[in-house]
Symmetry: C2
Subunit: 110 residues, 2 copies
Amino acid sequence: MTTISRTEEILLLMVCKLGDEAFAMQIREEVKALTGKLYSIGGIYVPLDRLTAKGLLKMEDMASDEERMGRPRRRFAITSQGIMALKETREIEQAMWDISPDVLQKMGLG
Amino acid sequence: MTTISRTEEILLLMVCKLGDEAFAMQIREEVKALTGKLYSIGGIYVPLDRLTAKGLLKMEDMASDEERMGRPRRRFAITSQGIMALKETREIEQAMWDISPDVLQKMGLG
DNA sequence: ACACTTATTCTATTTTATAGAACAAGTATT
DNA sequence: AATACTTGTTCTATAAAATAGAATAAGTGT
């Protein structure tokens, strides 16, 4: 059972969403678009590297393939382990919010 | 905008769910029932106190009211600020998972 | 060579998570 | 009244994650 943090969850999901375009800076933009929050450079790379080290992501060096300005990028992709972690997270998240409608209503969350 | 961690999210929700029975040890059991994971003592009190300090929870001392064995308990309740934080978290969580069905299917998450 | 562009590495600090021993505050018992 | 018993909280220490951004790297264009 690999419990992941919310940051890790969102990064894994953005990698899935971006597919072939899952590069660190694109992920950063996607997160910004989604949450309205601009993560710092470290706020992206640090967890991406950690997820890779843990085996939830894998990464590929684009050095030779690309023809564009600037330093070559690294492309991320989710692994089967990463997918399992997402599934589990989603289930817990759903269970968490499985509260009686009365309670939700009372809080204005219904 | 008060972004909360997943631990904070689950604690806030369990406080809502438990209502009048939102005591630290009951919360701990509820979290265990929900996630299958037994949090340590500190794993419950530390974030509960932090949430209280931040104003997302308030707490009430049950010293005089209760007639039961053992030390008096403290009861927690969510504040309007706590509710707002939950709303926001839920929205982000929903936005996060708002991915094209194709992608979800491909990952076996559809 | 040198400037320019883009991306990543690296380091430091703050905040959270995690764990559990020690302690506190009651009730029951003798 | 003293002592055991029961339950809950406080406190302290360590590991992990979040946060920030300067420094550096690795290409392309001139």
